[in-house]
């Protein structure tokens, strides 16, 4: 990845609040036009990292840049090209959605008025708030506020969209809509979003970064992360005596682990391999060559993100952010 293709770059970025180290030495690289999933359990430091990128908080160590602008000295220049949706967005309750978008656009553009109004209308349509556009925000539901949040974040045609848990408070339909909007926007902008909904990340992200307790534990394109070393999995279903076959498979140099569970007279195999090509060529033949074993199903199955996430993060990190 060339440096000039990077939208966000941080080096050892850290933030400590009194005695609490919220973020430890974060090295991020976010490429242009990617949908970058910023994953981590609550309290992992995702929101802190986002606030540092936007200049809403100051780092206590390290450095960072967005579009080549320094996050400490040039945060206004950064925010000129960014759209941001906070985790728990708050707006002026007496304003309507239309007023809020007009107010937001007023920080980016000074005219012409008709084009500004056109853009507001277009954005209201995009997020499905047309029938609520002229009502005060104080009467909005959580989902409507989130839609408005997405609207105000992208109304200025941002080159980078930073979304902090954009789908967290939405129902399944709302989540679906948000992901769809993100997919639609990806050809125009880079999307950096934090979430703990792994299913969403797997659906739309191309690059993933996993943060845990303020530390970066993994950063890679999602396919690479899912297929990471030793992480390709083959699943088989067999009938008959598998003792000999199991020993044979476990002895292959390209096999990492073999797990077998029995149910209803069938054996469910999960074979983790380090060389998927060798496994594709040999695994099925080796099992079938064992006397008394009948294979009823066979296929490659990649680990899903949840498995990767749980492996990297562990199960004991559900503190409150």
């Amino acid at each position: 990845m060339k440096n000039n293709d990077l939208v966000i770059e941080t080096h050892g970025l850290g933030k400590a609040y009194k005695k609490v180290q919220a973020l430890k030495s974060l090295d991020l690289k976010v490429a242009e036009h990617s949908i970058f999933g910023f994953l981590g359990p609550n309290g992992a430091g995702k929101t802190t990292a986002i606030k540092l990128l936007l200049g809403l908080a100051r780092p206590t160590s390290g450095s960072g840049s967005v579009f080549g602008f320094d996050i400490q000295r040039q945060s206004v220049e950064i925010r000129q090209r960014v759209g941001y949706l906070a985790q728990d967005p708050r707006y002026y309750e007496s304003m309507t959605a239309r007023d809020t978008l007009r107010f937001t656009l007023g920080f980016f553009f000074e005219g012409p008025k008709d084009k500004i109004e056109e853009r507001i209308e277009e954005t209201i349509e995009l997020v499905g708030l047309a029938d609520k556009a002229d009502r005060p925000i104080r009467g909005f539901s959580g989902g409507e506020r989130q839609r408005l949040g997405i609207a105000q974040a992208q109304v200025n045609y941002p080159d980078l969209l930073i979304l902090d848990e954009p789908a967290a408070s939405l129902d399944p339909m709302g989540r679906h809509d948000v992901l769809e909007v993100m997919e639609r926007l990806r050809k125009y902008t880079t999307i950096f979003y934090s979430t703990h909904i792994l299913e969403d990340v797997q659906r739309v992200s191309d690059t993933v970064c996993i943060l845990n307790r303020g530390e970066l534990v993994a950063q890679a394109p999602i396919q690479e992360l899912l297929a990471g070393s030793g992480m390709v999995l083959f699943r088989l279903q067999t009938r008959g005596d598998i003792q000999q076959a199991r020993s044979l498979i476990a002895g292959q140099p390209w096999v990492t682990t073999v797990q077998v569970e029995h149910s209803n007279g069938r054996a469910e195999w999960q074979v983790s391999v380090s060389d998927p090509n060798a496994a594709e060529d040999l695994l099925l033949d080796l099992v079938m060559s064992s006397p008394g074993v009948k294979v009823t199903s066979f296929g490659q199955s990649k680990y899903d993100l949840e498995e990767v996430f749980m492996t990297l993060v562990g199960g004991n990190s559900h503190g409150k952010q």
Partner: protein, 288 residues
């Protein structure tokens, strides 16, 4: 992407980036909501209401029924002019003192809420995620607040008091000095506004942002008794008499009397500037 649209990008305005838009929003909160008329009515009722009671009702109540009023007697004996003049001066003194204390308390309550309220509700963090400078954020609040206070708490109240005094006493103060007196009232209110804004940037405790100015506003007689020199460095003497020998500067101005010292005026201006600068400096360091 933005540069590809037909919209004209905002030019870089450095430390005032976002100021116009923020000021528009703040002014809107003052003038397109109920705030302006609520504030106008509250202070009309309190300050001008008290003024009316002092110069319109109290003198009549002092005269026993069946007897000619003091005012009427004074007029009959040819001394009515002096009596009415005294009543007008009393009205001016009461109005400025009441406005300088009661409205100042209102200003402090409003000012602390404008910033602490935004910090606590999260709207400040949202606005600051847009391309604005933090100095523009503070200045927009101070300037729109100052203008709102000038109009609803100084000009309207002063104008109403002027008319009230004229209708009751038949005496009209010279307009330009009276406008100067209203300017002094405004300046003292601005002092409390900027002090409350500054305190709101130093802490999120409403008690502190309200308590300190209130202590200074209400305790001024005590402070002046302990250390009379302190009156030269505070806005108290602009609208209130700090001793029997020193009337309020604003009253002296209207009556054409020599102004004993300009120090409180200068100190108040310096205070306003200093508090605003400290507020901006502190707000730059605030984290959200």
């Amino acid at each position: 992407m933005a540069s590809n649209s037909e919209l004209q990008l905002i030019r870089n305005r450095g430390r005032l980036q976002g100021f116009e838009n923020l000021l528009r929003k703040e002014n809107r909160l003052w003038w397109r909501t109920s705030r302006w008329w609520v504030q106008t009515l509250i202070w009309l009722a309190i300050v001008n209401g008290i003024l009316f009671m002092v110069i319109g009702i109290a003198p009549k109540m002092e005269d026993p029924p069946g007897q000619a009023s003091n005012t009427q007697s004074a007029q009959a004996s040819g001394g009515g002019g002096d009596s009415q003049q005294s009543l007008a001066i009393l009205g001016l003194t009461v109005f400025l003192k009441m406005a300088g204390i009661a409205i100042a308390i209102g200003v402090v309550v409003l000012a602390q809420d404008t910033l602490i309220g935004e910090k606590q509700s999260g709207t400040a963090a949202w606005v600051l995620s847009k391309p604005i400078s933090r100095s523009a954020f503070i200045l927009s609040k101070v300037i729109s607040g100052a203008f709102g206070i000038l109009m609803t708490m100084a000009v309207v109240q002063g104008g109403f008091a002027y008319i009230l005094v004229f209708l009751i006493t038949g005496k009209a103060f010279p307009v330009v000095p009276f406008a100067g007196a209203i300017g002094m009232l405004f300046l003292s209110l601005l002092f409390w506004l900027t002090l409350a804004v500054m305190l709101s940037t130093l802490s999120n405790m409403r008690g502190l942002a309200i308590g300190v100015p209130l202590f200074l506003i209400l305790g001024f007689t005590l402070f002046v008794e302990i250390a009379p020199w302190i009156a030269d460095y505070m806005p108290w003497s602009l609208t209130s008499a700090v001793s029997s020998s020193q009337p309020a500067l604003a009253v002296s101005l209207v009556l054409g009397q020599p102004i004993p010292t300009l120090m409180p005026l200068i100190a108040t201006v310096i205070g306003c500037i200093l508090f605003t600068m400290v507020a901006i400096w502190r707000f730059q360091k605030e984290e959200f």
